[in-house]
Symmetry: C2
Subunit: 347 residues, 2 copies
């Protein structure tokens, strides 16, 4: 029996420093309605979807900085975000969306939540583990800053997969024909990650080790990174953007394949704040690593696919049957050391 | 200063159960000479290069099985393999080659060695960690067996990177312009893996955490896997082979990118033993995940590229600067559990 799920990425065009929150919300609601008209049951929005990607700016004023953060953990009730969740509930669509979170203790996190329309509440929260960039701004005034390490703490909630209740019909099977009839076993296993996390195999693997079936990843990715080290081949902005999209799709495809799961990725794209170009490339990939659907442009756009979650089984039970093939006795360094330890010099 | 290395994959067409060892050796020597004429400094041969990929057969006779194993740890001196190493030394070319190893205690391993022409000896050995397949043959007589778990023990030498002495000129730099002038610091950092290992992110990551610059991977990969689970889309043999090559390249490209290293992969390809089709697709990939060179066919063929090892620096020192970005406090499950632990059911 198929376990069909209709999923969508809501790619967003740019949101500016000067954009009004309600205007941005209106665009998100329009995207949700557009996905609904296609029959989507789950829609993923980008990282920091409600605002511009402000970590590119050195913002000295705490007051200004605060306007980019949500100060209420309960987004479905907070005034700046509630209308999106109201619409999702009304349409019966689950959503996942990224935002800058100001925790009660004052710490900032780059966060995403998963909202179940049937439950009418947020059922899972993820805080970005792999913060790119630097804490201090670059001295070179031409360099584009990436100050996530300044504004956010690294995520401290791990990579915790979760089942989404009552989203699909059918029950998951295991082994040839053996049906697991336990209640809820047909509910999809989901995991969230954010932007740079997708380049790090560790998060994917930990989700894979929970049997993840769909990984959701919103992002803001610069199309052009300056060559601060003088080692990179000189590229035109067009070549650099093409390469950045290639890397994005490569890691979504490769990690989906190696963990036998679908993935959905949603970009904030285009020229933000008038001059900072973000790539598009929002896409949905299969457990065999193929791109099933992808964005055509860099504006507001729905990327949609109808998938059968049972397609994860071939990989999970054969080539990537972790129980039979993983060898944790050989993996020690992955959790024992952070950085590079050079090999011994040979005689 | 560039750290130039001329590398080659020696893809081999089929070797049969009935092939004479000396004939196979002659083909390997011809490939080595062909690579030498291109200026190659390092040539990679496939997994179990000296024989057919015998784990596809249930071999009851220990005597017959023994003919596919090397019983001498010192390949440069063993009669069945010595001529290849003699030629490598004569040509001044380093080689890495896979073989079935019978250890002194009688255990079998799927092994590869790295031979330094300048040292005139094997300087590194790797035993395949991720053995695919099953210990017992399939009951279905039409299924192609994959009995590596029967004939081999999982590798017990870890993923140990090593520097290859005196292979390239120049010294490795670290950071903007800072030169590490210590003796040998310009020697390339290499790592070996074998076939199925390339689909497992853990081995790549452990090499990455030793600053690996070139990963070498020989393989024998079936172009057509029967659908034992009944879940896979029905594919023609041609479609299945195309998909298998796609997966091969996807994991070589993705893991090279995510660990900022070059990779070289060498297939044994074509119809072995008259009917078992193996994919080609031997290739060389860059630290940015691009394919620099790849095999055109499925026979004996040299795949060659001249690379600058300094191209690894951009990735290692920026996007994938492990010291700054890895978060081992969040990675526990990777080494704590082998298989899948399902997430809790939500309310």
């Amino acid at each position: 029996m198929a376990r069909t799920l209709k999923i969508a990425a809501a790619q967003m065009g740019p949101v500016h420093l000067t954009s009004k929150r309600l205007e941005t919300l209106s665009r998100m609601i329009a995207l949700l309605q557009s996905a609904s008209s296609l029959g989507a049951q789950l829609v993923l929005f980008p990282e920091t979807a409600f605002t511009t990607f402000f970590p590119r700016h050195l913002i000295a004023s705490q007051e200004q900085l605060d306007t980019y953060f949500e100060h209420n953990d309960n987004l479905p009730c907070a005034p700046n975000t509630k209308p999106l969740f109201d619409e999702a509930k009304k349409l019966g669509i689950d959503i996942s969306v990224g935002f800058a979170e100001r925790a009660e203790d004052g710490k900032g996190y780059n966060t995403s939540v998963y909202f179940s329309a049937r439950k009418g509440e947020v059922i899972a929260k993820y805080r970005k583990v792999h913060l790119p960039g630097t804490k201090e701004p670059f001295e070179n005034p031409d360099a584009v800053n990436q100050l996530e390490k300044r504004y956010f703490e690294p995520g401290n909630l791990g990579f915790k997969a979760f089942r989404t209740p009552d989203l699909v019909e059918g029950v998951a099977k295991k082994g040839a024909g053996e049906v697991e009839a336990a209640p809820g076993k047909g509910d999809p296993v989901m995991g969230m990650m954010i932007c740079n996390d997708r380049r790090w195999v560790e998060g994917w693997r930990i989700y894979g080790m929970q049997g993840v079936e769909v990984v959701l990843c919103g992002y803001n990715t610069a199309g052009f990174a300056p060559d601060l080290w003088g080692t990179r081949k000189v590229m035109t902005p067009e070549e650099a953007e093409k390469d950045a999209v290639f890397h994005h799709k490569l890691v979504m495809q490769g990690n989906s394949y190696m963990n036998s799961c679908f993935s959905v990725s949603a970009a904030k794209a285009g020229l933000e704040d008038g001059k900072y170009d973000l790539i598009g490339g929002s896409c949905i990939t299969s457990p065999e690593g193929h791109v099933l659907a992808e964005a055509k442009g860099k504006g507001d756009e729905i990327v949609f696919a109808e998938v059968d979650l049972e397609d994860c089984r071939q990989g999970k039970e054969k080539t990537f049957d972790f129980d039979r093939h993983r060898r944790i006795d050989q993996y020690g360094p992955i959790t024992e050391q952070t950085g590079v330890v050079e090999p011994e010099l040979l005689g």
